[in-house]
């Protein structure tokens, strides 16, 4: 089983994720919702650091916390006048939402707890994965190479830049 420090870190991360994701979808003010989303994303980055994927955690912080949350805050500032939060954020479809959410969570939770004997499994050694190997794997064309999705993502980002400019420019 794992060490006490890992268990404490797990409890902290899990509580942060659960509490702030519940708050992010139930709070009344939209800017608070974006802030709670930021905390959830940072806790997710902490999970990646716990799993020894440092590059992935750094990417998560840089892209999500540095890019997407700032984008959200800008969009909220542009589309909501400060002071008037008179419009309610939630519609009256609350019952349908609770039913859908509870059904999915209960089904997946039953499936998860039927495999609960794997839950206490401790982490195996990851086998010395460095940034060199990550770069090699991203740009190689052999069996575990990811050149094609890498280039596809670059084309997608270019299309996204052009699309964003075309959609949002002034007519």
């Amino acid at each position: 089983m794992e060490s006490l420090g890992n268990v404490i870190m797990y409890v902290i991360i899990a509580l942060t994720i659960i509490v702030f994701s519940v708050l992010a979808v139930t709070t009344k003010k939209i800017l608070r919702s974006a802030t709670y989303l930021l905390f959830v994303l940072l806790a997710t980055a902490a999970i990646y650091f716990q799993m020894d994927y440092e590059f992935l955690g750094a990417t998560q912080i840089a892209v999500y916390a540095g890019g997407i949350v700032v984008l959200f805050v800008f969009a909220i500032m542009l589309t909501h006048k400060p002071g008037d939060d008179a419009q309610p954020l939630e519609s009256h479809k609350r019952i349908a939402g609770i039913i859908a959410c509870a059904t999915g969570v209960v089904l997946c939770g039953v499936a998860l707890f039927s495999y609960a004997k794997f839950c206490g499994k401790s982490l195996l050694a990851t086998g010395d994965f460095t940034i060199d190997q990550l770069g090699e794997a991203l740009l190689s064309t052999d069996k575990f190479g990811y050149l094609l999705p890498f280039e596809a993502v670059s084309v997608l980002l270019l299309a996204c830049i052009i699309g964003g400019v075309v959609i949002a420019r002034k007519r």
Partner: protein
């Protein structure tokens, strides 16, 4: 073990996606769901196949695609706001203005 917070995060995302009326709040719920799927990729990779790193690369590409998708969605939302002066999904009933 980390699948439990991920599961609850996905449930919150589904709840917010159905009940919210504000378009930006719906997008925030969508981000929660995408994020929980990323956690699942990494956890399954790390616990079941620690010698390979396919789940990590999937998550890396999923983060990039999520960023692109959010940028385009926010551009659309700002454009809709410029026309309708509102981001409430009940008031946006036309696709073409």
């Amino acid at each position: 073990m980390y699948l439990i917070p991920s599961l609850i995060m996905f449930g919150c995302g589904v709840y917010g996606f159905i009940t919210r009326k504000n378009m930006i709040a719906i997008l925030i719920s969508l981000e929660l769901m995408l994020n929980s799927v990323d956690i699942n990729f990494v956890v399954f990779n790390r616990y079941l196949y620690p010698a390979q790193h396919d789940g990590m690369f999937f998550t890396l590409f999923a983060i990039a695609i999520a960023a692109a998708e959010t940028a385009v969605a926010i551009a659309i939302i700002i454009n809709v706001y410029r026309v309708v002066k509102n981001v409430d999904i009940n008031q946006i009933t036309k696709m073409k203005f």
